[in-house]
Subunit: 278 residues, 2 copies
């Protein structure tokens, strides 16, 4: 009998108050089959140990978050970013996931040149795509909401992400479809179709849109069902585009982080069943 | 000799700490030829008295802000909104401006239907457009940044605003081009061209993008030159599209509001000369 959780994956950031062993244990108990991991806690635990932990528990690592930050102009910074992204690919491969999420990076200090920054991402992908491919990893460019365009991610729409991705083979570079970042965009459904037709939907993530936004606008992603986004509608778009993979819930939310992590995971699983699966 | 201020208009909200008479006096002293007015302070002063004040000072009222908030589903709310917008048209006409800026409104409480909300705006424009035209006033739909899509304005891009505006004659309905809301959008330059070709750029407003955004993301619009937006680039786009009208600086900024209003106006005029005119 279906639990409604078969496609659910919990992104580690949603319950960052849990240690990796606590997260794995809670997933097993609650019947959560997938996890999206973050590099920092994985490295703190040890990459190989983390890989063994999730593998032994029977969990699927749906993504590793995150590489990217590829917009620097300074040659030393740029070189360091590329090296760090190659390490992220190595870590993804070690964890047994095929998808590395990329957050592109914002404008360098003092720069007003969005177009130039986007072109530097393309240059970096030309180096990183083949490297990732040779390790069995796909890069998934994540367009972030336009409110992050200056300081975090100059790729603001799915159309822009695909314009970048399509310069490379789909098995090297695709996109992350995250409801939080694209829900306002009336072009996003057609862009999801475009991505799906080319096999470029490398992961599908959910967060709800709630207001008022907090200062800095980073940690106000709403629990599924609490906000303005119709999750079933967006699930319908990615499914119509041929996506049958895991659906990750990734929330950055100070309120959720202040609570018991296991309770938040249970609540998130229940919300997933209510607003996504059923 | 050019002062560089010939096309400058100060939006009243930028220096809301000034009373209307103080604002008018400061504009005259500083050689600022235009003002964009807001309904609330105008009504507090009296619409006819405000009209006489600015007229006698030789100032041009470049816009009235604002009508809109047309997304309600409740019939009584909807009827009240339409009546209020007709009053806004009357006030614009009384003030001698030909442009009423419209902020469309957000999702009704509990709604997740952006498309439906946008269609209700179109329905409202069908009533308001002819009324405005008969009073010599043009409606200027303002797309607001996508971060306001849920709670303030379901029209998030210039393309969406034009999709709405083009259902009506250009002398009834056009758009507001405001750098703060569209600077991240790589499609905006082509949409400015589209708007200009049809005579639908009814006003051009400036604010700079600075981070971090404050809680609620309303009052963090940066002083010209302080942020990520290349003002000359955007001025170039609207000019290439045939726009030769006033350029309004509209800042909502707690830091600026805490300062002496006349100093802020002088600073804003100087920034305009430095980053826009020269």
């Amino acid at each position: 009998m279906s639990t409604g959780l078969e496609r659910f994956s919990i992104n580690q950031m949603t319950v960052k108050q849990l240690s990796l062993p606590e997260l794995v244990e809670a997933c097993v108990e609650l019947g959560v089959p997938g996890v999206g991991l973050w590099r920092e806690p994985v490295r703190a635990h040890g990459v190989e140990a983390a890989a063994k932990l999730v593998r032994d528990a029977g969990l699927t690592v749906t993504t590793l978050c995150r590489g990217g930050f590829l917009t620097a102009t300074d040659p030393a910074e740029r070189s360091a970013a590329l090296a760090d992204n190659r390490r992220a690919v190595d870590e993804a491969a070690a964890l047994g996931t095929d998808t590395l999420v990329l957050v592109s990076g914002g404008l360098p200090a003092g720069s007003k040149d969005l177009h130039g920054a986007r072109e530097r991402i393309a240059d970096a992908l030309a180096e990183l795509g083949p490297y990732a491919r040779s390790h069995g990893v796909r890069l998934a460019i994540e367009p972030l909401h336009p409110m992050y365009a200056a300081d975090r991610c100059v790729v603001s729409t799915l159309a822009q992400a695909l314009d970048l991705a399509e310069r490379f083979p789909a098995h090297q570079v695709g996109v992350t479809v995250d409801t939080y970042h694209i829900w306002w965009d009336d072009r996003a459904p057609e862009q999801i179709a475009r991505a799906g037709a080319a096999g470029r939907i490398h992961t599908f993530q959910l967060a709800d849109w709630t207001t008022p936004l907090p200062e800095g606008v980073l940690n106000g992603r709403g629990q599924i069902g609490d906000g303005a986004i119709d999750m079933r509608e967006w699930k319908g778009y990615v499914e119509a585009a041929g996506y049958t993979g895991a659906i990750e819930v990734e929330l950055f939310n100070d309120g959720l982080w202040a609570r018991n992590g296991r309770e938040v995971l249970a609540e998130t699983a229940a919300r997933f069943v209510e607003h996504v699966s059923r």
